[in-house]
Amino acid sequence: MSFQPLVKVEGLKKYFPVSKGLFRKTHDYIHAVDDVSFSIQPRESLGLVGESGCGKTTTGKLLVRLLTPTAGRIFFRMEEEEAREEGVRLEDGYVDVATLKGRALKNFRRHVQMIFQDPYESMNPRLTIYDIVAEPMAVQGIGSVMEREQRVAEMLQHVGLTPPESFMFRYPHELSGGQRQRVAIARALIINPTFVIADEPTSMLDVSVRTGVMQLMQDLADRFGISYLYITHDLAVARYMCDKIAVMYLGKIVEMAETEELLHHPLHPYTKALLSAVPIPDPTYKREVIEIRGSVSTPINPPSYCRFYNRCPVAKEGLCNVQEHPPLEDKGGGHYVACHLV
């Protein structure tokens, strides 16, 4: 494994103001992403797992700069030469995505793409499959019309939509969910990105086509050397797709480790609870069953102590609700946990 990560995220925060009427200034903020740090090696996939509303999508959108971070830095590794051509300033071989704007931001987007959750809403119904897949090339001004057509046909072939010419000039509504998600993949990969954020790309698909799409994403990642940030609420999916998993809870990463390590030796009470809800196809594996009370709350002005305190089955009063939220610490072998009791 290389020791030069492709992506480094440091102290990333995104607070959304809670609007309270038209003229009053708000003092309430949703801490959607609150001090998140991680890194992703080239060709490595990181799974971001957590319940609905914990800030997974927000993290993804920050990384592609659909949102501007409230605080924190996002570093993306780039070759000197490329950076010079694209007018991007490098700091030790990294570009700080959080500060990019204008031309540099547009150029940065050649390297990073996003696949969205909803294959029905993420395509303009009035564009043909060709237009949808070719859009990144078109807006980036890559290739002539003929070249784009050729490239789109190749890409459709790669994602298993064959023969390409029978798909190119159809409209999204004429395709099935699985086929559309393949189109979305073709579109994301058409300008050779090195980093792709996949926001629950299979969660809206029929179970029968899910594996096919996941398999395809893996094959293409191996083939083209792509790193994924794979967002999902399903640990089984993350296990299939990812080398590493980060578990998120109310805007914080509470545990992060290599996939098998995390699944077999979960340390954080929240991860343990999540795992006890997921069947793992491993007969030799024994685990404790942990129930958690209540449900996820919205992180509006959360308390400064452990975010999981209210639902934690092993919380220690006088410690967990007094001290600050525990920092994410390496407990050996790259297994990071944020809990006072571990």
Binding site: K106, Q113, Q117, D118, V139, E149, F169, R187
Partner: protein, 316 residues
Amino acid sequence: MSDASSVTVIHRPLWRVRLELFWKSVRTNWALFIENPIGVIGLAIILFFALMAVLHPILMKTVWDPTVYDPITGYDFEILRHPAPPSARHLLGTDPLGRDVLSQLMYSTQTEFILGVVAALITVTIGTLIGALSAYYGGVIDTLFMRLADLVIMLPFISILIVLSALFKLNMLKLALVIGILSGFGGVTVIIKSQALSIKVKPYIEAARVAGGGDWHIIVVHFIPNLLPLSFLYMMFTVTSAIFSEAVLSFFGLINIRMSWGIMIHTTQTAGYLLNVGQYWWLVIPAGLAITLLCSAFYLVGRALDEVVNPRLRRR
């Protein structure tokens, strides 16, 4: 991606493919449109009037003697008393100034169409652009245009037109421009903006942005094509309101045009025949009916298009 297998694409030029797709969508929409009797009736009426407009110059060149049948300068000396009731010579009689009513009616049709279409095109161009920009940029631009729209909607349309025409003596083209601009900055903008707002939050807008698409790319490629069906729909309603407004203004003698359906009724009124419609029905009924029919026709087509454009309204 050097190892990409080479694929042979059938080389039909892209514009040909797009043209074919366009025709295909026109055909599908047409099939939906003619399912609805309301739309078919509207369209039939519009075609009937279009035929009248086209026939008028031909008749003037062939069978109608201009000295007698010219809608503005004609006079029939062979009849002693004008207005004369319908006869073989004048199918809809003559007006108080001795001119052929049918010829006036047909001649005016052309004007009404031009007025309606020009006003509608202006309205829809303004409405679509402003609606899209307001929704996309929000903020000050949005506030500015929406308050302007409120103002335009609040002020009674016809009275603004009356004031303007009293001040400027509008001709047909200027009238089209005024109606177009007024309704463009008014209600149409608000409706198109609300549609644009629903497009703004679609994930394909974010997808376009991640691809590197700038403001103009998103407005031109994603907003406008999704707004056009609605704009087209409001074109129909604008035609209706333009023709109607013209009739009202002409009736009051407030516009500087030589002939229109409204002018025909105005002439009747100034000559003092309006209160005697029972006896002189041909002076008022044809023009009045034409205004009503053509206005309703565009409205009906609009309603039928509404069902094509908004599939939710479609009856199963």
